[in-house]
Symmetry: C2
C-alpha cells in the first residue's frame, strides 16, 4: 500500500476549499457545501487512488471519476486543475461564465477530464454503472491471459440527493445483479439537503439497502481526519464479485464557522465573514500571510477588508505552488503505470494482430459503403408492423457494427429490440450483447448513456413509447451530450388498443421533437425504417428516437418504385413526395403525414382524385425537425403555395401549439387520451379512417 | 380472529381463474398470469380482510385496495363482481371493449370500487402511500378520543415490476420515514416478468431492502394453499409504527398445465388446451358438469370442442351462484361495522358540532365569492419573480381552503411552494400541512395523486420545471384521472442562469401543453399568477401546471389599469389584449407572448410605435390550450386578419411543430439547450433583448 502524506493532503484540501469559497463568492452563485466537505477525500482520490494520467485524459484504460453530485463542480474543477488536466486557474476564475470550461455543473468533455454531464441527481451514478459494464465488456472481448488491456475502475461520488432518487436504486439493483466489482461508489453522507437536515425525510438505513442490492458496504468517518479514506478504498478495491460503496461521513461546509453543517452552505456563497474565519483557521493562512503580511491576516477586520476587496475587484486567485507540486506528482507517480500499459498495448498488437485490428475498429465505429447499400436497399416482402421491421433492421445494424449493444426494459419480446444472434450479459460473463435491464426504464437509459460516453459502445434502449416518461431525464442528457444512443419506442398511439389510455402515447412524439439535438423519426414503412437507422449510423453525432407501431402499417404506405439513393437524399431533408397525381403541376390539395398515417393519407388521396377529380400530393414527413430546418426552396417546393389546402394527419397531440398553425391548414390529430378498445375500433371512433378523413377534407374544400 | 372457510375460498379462487381465462380468451387480449396466481389471496382479502361495504363504495372510512400491478385487472373486476360492487358478469364480458366498465387496466372510478388508475408500474403503490398519509391526516384532524372516525387501512398489491421501478423505492422510503402503519403492501412474488425469469435481472434481497427502508416484512407461501395468508395479514395489521409488506410467494398462471410458472402466461391468452386442463383439474369442473354433463367434461376432446365454441361464439360466462353467495356474504359480515361507523358519525355530529361542520366542508372543497374577490383583486406592490408571487398566492389559497397541502422535492426554499404558517408532517404527528418529500420528484407527484383521489385533499407538488422530467408519468396520470392537483414548476427557461443547461428547461412548457386534460399557465405578472390559481379553484376539475420564473419579471409586464373581472373573463379564454396603440383600428403588428416575455414584448411594441410610427397590439397568452380552443370570433378578433404581421415570443422550444406555423408569423423561441452564464447574459446571447427583437421584426416588416 502506498503511504500517504497526510499533512500535504490537508494543505491541498484547504486550498481546494479556498478556491471554492473565493470563486463562488466572486460569482455569487454556486454550491460550496460539497467541495468543502469532500476536498480531503477528493485530493486523496486524485493524488493516490486513481490510475489516471492527466497528460492523456483520453487514455482508454484510465480509472474514471464521476461526480454524480454535480452541483459540487468546484471540487472537480479544483482537482482537475491541481492534477494537471487541461483546466487552469484562469479557467476556474471564469466559473459559471459564458463559454468557460467551468460551467455551473460539470459538462461532458473527456479531453478536460470531465467524464459526463452531471447535475440532475443520480444520473452520474447511473452513468457509472454503464461505464463499469463497458469495462467488463471490453475486458471480456479483448483481454487475453497476461494481457489485461482493460482493468480500470470507476469511482463515483454521490450524495444524499442521488441516493433519494429512484434512479440510484434502479441502477444499484442492476449493478448488484451483474456483480460489477469494477465500480466503487463514494457516498458523501453529510445528512443535509437543500431544505434542511435529511432527518426531515431521509431516515432509511442506506448501508442495509445497498447490502440488500448485493453491494459490499464500507464505512469511513471523514468528518475530522481523512487519513482512513485511502485505506478503506484500498480494502474495498480488493473485494471481488460485487460493486462496492464506501459510506463516508462528512460535514457539509467543513472549515466554516457558523454555516458548517447547515443547509445554508449547500447552494449559496458563504459570505465574507465565513471566508475570513476559514482563512484564519486553515492551512491556507500561510499563502495569505505571504501575500498580505502576517499582521493583516491575524487581524480579523483587516482580513475582512482584504477579502472583500479581492471579491469585489475579482482579483486573481492566489496560487499555491506547493499544493500544485504535490498534487501534480500524480503524473510522475502514474507514469510507470501508464507506460507499462502502452508497452502492453504494443505487445498485444504483436501477439494478437487480428484482435488488435478489431480493437482499433472498435474504437472508431463507422459505416462503410457496402453496409450503407444494405440499408439503402432494405425491403420487406410484405407489410408488417414497424416494430417488427425495426427489430430486423436493428439486427442488421448490429451484425455490421459490433459496438451496438443494448436491450429493453423487460419488453424485448414486444418492442422487438433484441439481438437474436446473441445472449444476455450476466455476472462473470459479459460476452453477450443483450442487456436485461429489468423494468427499470430510467436506469436503462442512463446506464446506456454511460455506455456511450467513451464511444466504444453504441447502445440502444427500448420500451413502449408511453414509458418514455419514465426515462425522460436520461433522454434529455443523451441529447445534451450528443451521445450515440438509439432509442426505439414501440407501440405508438391509440392503435395499441386494448391496454387502454395508460399505455397509449398521445403527447409523446411531439414532446420528443421539442428536445434539442435529438431527431425523432416516425417511419411509415420498411424503407423509412431502414433509412432512419442509416441516418443515425451515417452521422453518429447524437441520439435518435425511432417510433414504431404495434400494428401492421397499411399496405398503401409501401411503394417500392422509388429510386433509393434519390429517396434517401430527400428523406434526410425530413420529408419527400410520396405520391402525386400524374401530370400534376400544382396540386389542389397536399396531404402530409408521418408514420402510421401515411397509408391512410395515400388512400384518401386516391379517393379525392377519383371522386372529386382534384390533383393531390401526398408528402411523407418522417422527421418534422429536419423538414422544418430544410432550405426554404425545398420546403416551398413540397408545400406549394399558401393557397393550396394543406392537411396534416398524425395520431398524436398538437394541443396548444396548433394555435399558431396556418389558419388554412387542416390538422387531423388526437388531443384527448385514448380508451381501452381495439385499435381498429378506436380508429373509427376517433375519425381516423379514410372515409372520415375524406369527409373532413371534402367539407372544407367544397 | 375470524375463521376462514378454506374450501369455499378455493372454489372462489378457481371461479376467478375461470372468469379470467375465458374472458381473456374471448378478448384475445389481457394478462391472465397475475389473476391466476393471486385469485386465492384476492378472495380472502375481499371476503375476510377488507373493512368495506360494497353497497356504499364511497364510504369514507372503507379500507382501500389498490391493484398496483394493474395489468392483472381481471382479478380486480372478478373480486368487485363477486363482492357485490357495481360490476356485473355482463360488464366482465365486455372486458377491454370500448366504453365498458372493465377496460384493459383499472381506471379510477370509486363508485365502481376502483380506487385509482393503474398500469404504469409502481404508480398504484405510490398512490397507496398518499392514501395512507391522507388517512393519518384525517385521523389527526378529526378523530377524537373514543371517536375513531378515520381508522382505515390501505392494502396494495404489487408485483416484481412495481418493485423494480425506482418509484416504488422512493415511495417506500418516504412511507417508512413517516411510519405509515395503516399501509399493508402485498408483494405478489412470482419471479417471472415479461422477458423471462426475474433471475435474469432482479436478484436483490427484497425483504432486506424493505427492512432497510423501515418496513416490517412478513413472508407467506401462497403457491399451494392460501390458508396462511389471512393469518399473516392479521399479524401484520397489529404491528404499529411502520408500514408493512407481506412477501407472498405465488405461481404465475397457477392452475394451468404447461404455461404455469412461465412468462408465456403473463400477457397473452392461455389457449384452449390450457383452459381445458384447468377445467378438468379445478373446482370449476362442477359448474361445467352441471351444464354440459359429466361425461362431456371428463372427455378431453369433447371439452375442447365445448370450450372452443364458448370462446368463438362469445357465449355468456357461466355463473357460479355458490361462490357469489359466499363472497357477497362480506356485505352482511361488514354491515355491523358499517352501521357502527354511521352511528359513530352521528354521535360525533352531536358531540362535536363545529368539527362536524368542518368535516363536511372538508369533504366538499369549494371557493366562495369573498374568496374569489381576493384572487381577482390580488396585487403586488412591486415587480417580483413569479415564483415569489406564486408562493404568496399559494399561501392565500391554503389559508382559504384547508384541503390544500403539499410541498416540494427538497426545493421549497427555491420554488417558494411552502405554507409558511404550517409545519411538516412527521411520524406520529400529521397535523402539519407541508410535506418534505425529499429529493423524490416522482414519489412526490404520485403520492400526491394518491392524496387527491378521495377529494378530501388538494395537493400541490413543486420542483424546478426542468425536473418535471423526473415525475412526468405521475403528471400524466393526474391529467388522465382529472385529479385536483396543483403543479408549481419554477425556474423557467434559460433565465435561471448559471446552473447551466441541465437546469434550464427548454422543451418543457410545450411538452406540458401537449398533454390532454391539464392546463398549463405561464403567468406574466402578479395578476396572471393569482388568476391561474383562481382558474384552478373555480373549476376543480383536473390538474393545473403553473410555470414561474426565478428572476423578477420586467416591470413592463405589469399593468394595474385593467378592470379585473373583465380581464379575468378574457384570461379564461387563454389570451387577452394587454396593450394596444391608442386609437387603434387595425394593428400593423401584433406581438403575442407568454409569461416572462410579456414585458419585453410591451417594451418592443413601444419602440415600434415610437420609431416606426406603426400601430401595435400586444397580446398576453398565459394559456395556449385555452386560447387555441376559444371561439373563432374571439381568436379572429385578437389575432386580426391574416395579413397583419404576427410575432410570438417565448423562451422555450417550438422545434419541429413550427413547421406548420403560419408562414407569415415570426416565431422568436429557443430551440437549443442553454448554457451556464447569468440569465441576463444569455438573454443577450440568445437575442431575447428588446433591441434584438425589435431588429428582427423591423428587418421583416420593412
Amino acid at each position: 500500500m502506498k503511504s500517504i502524506e497526510i499533512q500535504k493532503i490537508k494543505e491541498a484540501a484547504d486550498y481546494i476549499r479556498y478556491l471554492t469559497l473565493e470563486t463562488i463568492e466572486k460569482a455569487q452563485s454556486g454550491h460550496p457545501g460539497l467541495p468543502l466537505g469532500c476536498s480531503g477525500l477528493g485530493a486523496i482520490l486524485y493524488r493516490y487512488i486513481l490510475n489516471h494520467y492527466p497528460e492523456n485524459p483520453e487514455w482508454i484504460n484510465r480509472d474514471r471519476f464521476v461526480l454524480s453530485a454535480g452541483h459540487g463542480s468546484m471540487l472537480l474543477y479544483s482537482l482537475l486543475y491541481l492534477s494537471g488536466y487541461n483546466i487552469s486557474l484562469e479557467d476556474i476564475e471564469k466559473f459559471r461564465q459564458l463559454g468557460s470550461k467551468t460551467p455551473g455543473h460539470p459538462e461532458y468533455n473527456i479531453k478536460n477530464g470531465i467524464e459526463t454531464t452531471t447535475g440532475p441527481l443520480a444520473q452520474g451514478f447511473s452513468n457509472s454503472v454503464g461505464m463499469a459494464i463497458e469495462g467488463k465488456m471490453l475486458a471480456e472481448k479483448f483481454n487475453k491471459k497476461g494481457y489485461p488491456l482493460f482493468d480500470y475502475t470507476i469511482y463515483t461520488l454521490l450524495g444524499d440527493g442521488c441516493n433519494m432518487e429512484g434512479l440510484s436504486y434502479e441502477s444499484a439493483s442492476l449493478a448488484g445483479h451483474l456483480g460489477l466489482d469494477n465500480l466503487i461508489a463514494i457516498y458523501d453522507s453529510n445528512s443535509i439537503s437543500i431544505d434542511g437536515s435529511t432527518n426531515i425525510t431521509f431516515t432509511e438505513n442506506v448501508a442495509k439497502r445497498y447490502e440488500a442490492l448485493g453491494w459490499e458496504v464500507g464505512f469511513c468517518d471523514s468528518t475530522g481526519s481523512v487519513e482512513s479514506f485511502f485505506e478503506k478504498i484500498d480494502n474495498l478495491k480488493k473485494i471481488e464479485g460485487k460493486p462496492k460503496i464506501l459510506i463516508t461521513k462528512t460535514i457539509i461546509g467543513n472549515g466554516l464557522n457558523k454555516k458548517k453543517n447547515t443547509n445554508k452552505i449547500h447552494g449559496s456563497a458563504a459570505g465574507i465573514d465565513e471566508i475570513v474565519y476559514f482563512i484564519q483557521n486553515s492551512e491556507i493562512k500561510n499563502i495569505f500571510e505571504r501575500k498580505y503580511g502576517k499582521e493583516s491576516i491575524q487581524n480579523r477586520e483587516k482580513l475582512k477588508e482584504i477579502t472583500q476587496a479581492r471579491v469585489e475587484n475579482k482579483e486573481s486567485l492566489l496560487q499555491n505552488k506547493k499544493v500544485v507540486l504535490f498534487m501534480k506528482q500524480c503524473i510522475e507517480d502514474n507514469k510507470p503505470i501508464y507506460n507499462k500499459w502502452r508497452e502492453l498495448n504494443l505487445k498485444y498488437k504483436k501477439a494478437f494482430p487480428k484482435e488488435y485490428i478489431k480493437l482499433k475498429q472498435f474504437l472508431n465505429p463507422s459505416i462503410n459503403d457496402s453496409m450503407k447499400e444494405k440499408f439503402l436497399n432494405y425491403t420487406e416482402d410484405k407489410p408488417d408492423s414497424t416494430r417488427n421491421i425495426a427489430g430486423r433492421v436493428l439486427n442488421l445494424c448490429a451484425e455490421q457494427i459490433p459496438q451496438i449493444i443494448g436491450g429493453s426494459a423487460d419488453l424485448a419480446s414486444s418492442t422487438k429490440a433484441n439481438l437474436i444472434f446473441s445472449k444476455y450479459i450476466e455476472k462473470k460473463d459479459f460476452s453477450g450483447r443483450n442487456i436485461a435491464y429489468g423494468i427499470r426504464e430510467h436506469a436503462m437509459c442512463s446506464i446506456n448513456n454511460g455506455l456511450a460516453l467513451n464511444h466504444t459502445m453504441i447502445p440502444f434502449s427500448s420500451t413502449f413509447l408511453t414509458f418514455l416518461d419514465y426515462m425522460k431525464p436520461g433522454v434529455r442528457l443523451a441529447a445534451l451530450m450528443k451521445l450515440n444512443h438509439i432509442f426505439i419506442f414501440s407501440h405508438d398511439s391509440f392503435y395499441i388498443g386494448e391496454d387502454g389510455p395508460t399505455h397509449q402515447p398521445i403527447e409523446h412524439v411531439n414532446s420528443l421533437r421539442l428536445i434539442p439535438d435529438i431527431y425523432t423519426f416516425r417511419p411509415a414503412n420498411d424503407i423509412e425504417t431502414a433509412f432512419s437507422f442509416l441516418y443515425f449510423l451515417e452521422n453518429l453525432n447524437g441520439p435518435i428516437a425511432i417510433i414504431t407501431t404495434r400494428q401492421s402499417v397499411m399496405k398503401e404506405a409501401y411503394n417500392g418504385s422509388f429510386e433509393r439513393s434519390e429517396l434517401y437524399k430527400n428523406f434526410k431533408k425530413g420529408a419527400y413526395i410520396f405520391y402525386e397525381t400524374r401530370g400534376l403541376k400544382n396540386p389542389d390539395i397536399i396531404i402530409g403525414a408521418s408514420g402510421s398515417e401515411l397509408g391512410v393519407s395515400y388512400k384518401t388521396a386516391k379517393l379525392i382524385e377519383e371522386k372529386d377529380n382534384l390533383m393531390v400530393r401526398v408528402i411523407s414527413i418522417p422527421c418534422l425537425e429536419l423538414f422544418s430546418k430544410s432550405d426554404k426552396t425545398y420546403k416551398d417546393f413540397l408545400l406549394s403555395n399558401k393557397e393550396t389546402t394543406f392537411v396534416f394527419i398524425e395520431a398524436g397531440s398538437h394541443r396548444g401549439v396548433d394555435l399558431f398553425y396556418d389558419r388554412n391548414m387542416i390538422l387531423i390529430d388526437i388531443q384527448h387520451f385514448g380508451e381501452s378498445a381495439s385499435g381498429k375500433e378506436l380508429q373509427k371512433e376517433y375519425g381516423m379512417l379514410c372515409k372520415d378523413i375524406y369527409d373532413k377534407i371534402r367539407k372544407i374544400i367544397h
